[in-house]
Subunit: 369 residues, 2 copies
């Protein structure tokens, strides 16, 4: 599955915001050696752990793996391919000799250390939101817009988890017909708020079942058998929260549709690590269910789970740990009398396609053929 | 709060399907005595227990309470106003002397026993789906369409839980502007599938946390930290499940809008007894957020929970046990470029406004003034 996605298939959407390479800049290592030295920043976090797993699962040709984290986590040992690797403290000198660095330690760390990594010669795949809307930094879901990577200048941004899962699921439909309008209601897992939030969900639920009090520390609301509007700050003027703003902006950018109308409501539900979304898509022409099923059935990165008789559709217990994003509940959207809209339900592993897997797939496209 | 809603306020939607009283039929007791004899069929179920609670909470003037259930539950004792009432087996003779009977034992029981109760002189408030689409049976949410009750012939249907919570929340907006289109994604609790499903959610979650296997018996899919498409059977032709079909048909009927386009996706999430819904509403004119807030803020049965700065919006932990349906996350719907759509998030107690409370409110409107 290590496809070279830099060759744009004719059907991919046009690249709209990758800048022309600047002749005045120093040369950048735009591709990786056959066996790159790999660094993971934030190696002990929920996504960091999955990055190590994904490198193994996908047989990424790692020459050497460097695990970086805060001073607090330095000295921990994490398993990789049968050996243990000692976590080192992230410093300004951490990136010497590194070919590719995966950053997953939040936007503040990325803003400070990503430029140092690039200066040291590494290509950075950044999982934070720091550079996602920077016009000089491609924002990539390989199955959707790999051609936009061609002009990278050392940094490639990995999208918000909802945007990644949503756009990979919509890609085959968007190639068949132009999307006019999108509406999304999410069912988001604890993992999007990190390993501590996953542990808080377990602990809060255990306390509830034992009849014990529990005070949330990571998330702003009780999580046991409860759901709540996403914990990102809410814009007091628009009423949309930061998560929703990210999903809208990044979905538009990945799909090359800067003006696409997107309605969205982001809700955290008490599940551990798979995000769901109920989606309505209006196209510029009617797409039959048969056509939609065929498109989704053969699209890379997707699995059609759409058994009406067995009432078997995408759900977290089956998406967790899976590279494929599950797509199902394909129906005509009865809320649109024009007959040009479909409804579907999507579930993907937030830590895999929503984060670590997509980042490793980005790096794969930079390996020699 | 025992308002007499039979007097139609001028702003309520037109009654479209209540038939004219038939002069040929025998007279029906259309109203209740000041102190009615009350029966509850299905008294030991999740809704039955809440019916007893709601009669107490709302000071319903019960002369005598008769609790009816299957032979299996007969002999159990349930508390009511400081005394214990022995549950009796439901038989064909159970309704002698009963003024009002609440049915909550499923459509099969209702189809068989409701006609017997009416024949015995009782007014029936039926919580099952058996008669909801019968043109001779009003389907009532008192805050929305109480005038449609006037022509009842002994049976009044209590709506599906989602339809009740959704329509009471939309009522003030629908009175201010005509709704053109509706889209709903639900976050539904275990209680909709009964007390056994609530217990299964607790047990499955406890087993998961203990690392023990668990085989679901009540619901078709694992429920611990999982969500799944609603368990009602799916129409193999349309892809919509029975719950979605009910919500669409009943919402249209309650709102007096038989052709309203309604898009819907019903999902069960791991919460115990409050249903959520992310809703998009397109109106025939733009409604400002200020206007929407004012309308919802003064509407009967609703509580506006819309604190953007505190990131505090409707959620199950605050809706559970509450009569009011919580409405918040009011925003312009950015998925509709016309600017005529609002987005909102609604959470209501499935067992209260979604079932028992609404049934008791229906009976209240039949009491003498």
């Amino acid at each position: 599955m290590m496809t070279d996605l830099l060759d744009p298939p004719a059907s991919l959407p046009p690249v709209q915001d990758a800048p022309a390479p600047s002749a005045a800049r120093p040369p950048i290592n735009r591709r990786l050696p056959a066996h790159p030295v790999v660094a993971i920043v934030g190696a002990t976090g929920a996504v960091g752990i999955e990055l190590i797993e994904s490198l193994t699962a996908r047989d990424f040709p790692v020459a050497r793996l460097k695990l970086l984290a805060s001073a607090r986590s330095a000295g921990l040992r994490l398993p990789f391919r049968g050996r243990e690797i000692v976590v080192e403290e992230l410093t300004e000198d951490s990136f010497e000799g590194v070919d590719v660095a995966f950053f997953s330690a939040g936007a503040t760390i990325s803003r400070r250390f990503v430029p140092l990594a690039v200066k040291a010669g590494a290509v950075v795949v950044d999982n934070s939101s720091a550079f996602r809307m920077d016009p000089g930094v491609p924002l990539i879901v390989p199955e959707v817009n790999a051609p936009a990577m061609a002009a990278h200048e050392g940094i490639i941004a990995n999208p918000n988890c909802v945007a990644a899962i949503l756009t990979v699921a919509l890609a085959p439909l968007a190639q068949a017909a132009r999307i006019r309008r999108l509406n999304v209601a999410t069912y988001q897992a604890a993992s999007g708020a990190g390993a501590a939030a996953m542990e808080e969900l377990r602990a809060a639920t255990g306390a509830y079942l034992d009849g014990q009090p529990f005070t949330p520390k990571v998330l702003p609301h009780p999580y046991a058998f409860n759901f709540f509007s996403h914990n990102a700050d809410v814009d007091p003027d628009t009423g949309y929260n930061g998560e929703e703003d990210k999903v809208v902006a990044e979905t538009r950018r990945i799909m090359g549709r800067p003006d696409l109308p997107v309605g969205i409501t982001c809700i955290r539900v008490p599940v551990l690590r798979a995000h769901g979304m109920a989606v309505n898509v209006e196209f510029d022409r009617p797409i039959s269910l048969e056509e939609a099923r065929q498109l989704i059935g053969v699209a890379p990165g997707l699995r059609l789970v759409d058994d009406r008789v067995g009432n078997h559709f995408p759900m977290p217990v089956e998406a967790t740990g899976q590279e494929a994003v599950l797509v199902g509940r394909l129906r005509e959207d009865l809320g649109d009398p024009s007959g040009r809209s479909l409804a579907l339900f999507i579930v993907g592993d937030q830590l895999l396609k929503g984060a670590a897997l997509n980042a490793v797939q980005i790096a794969e496209t930079l390996l020699p053929r």
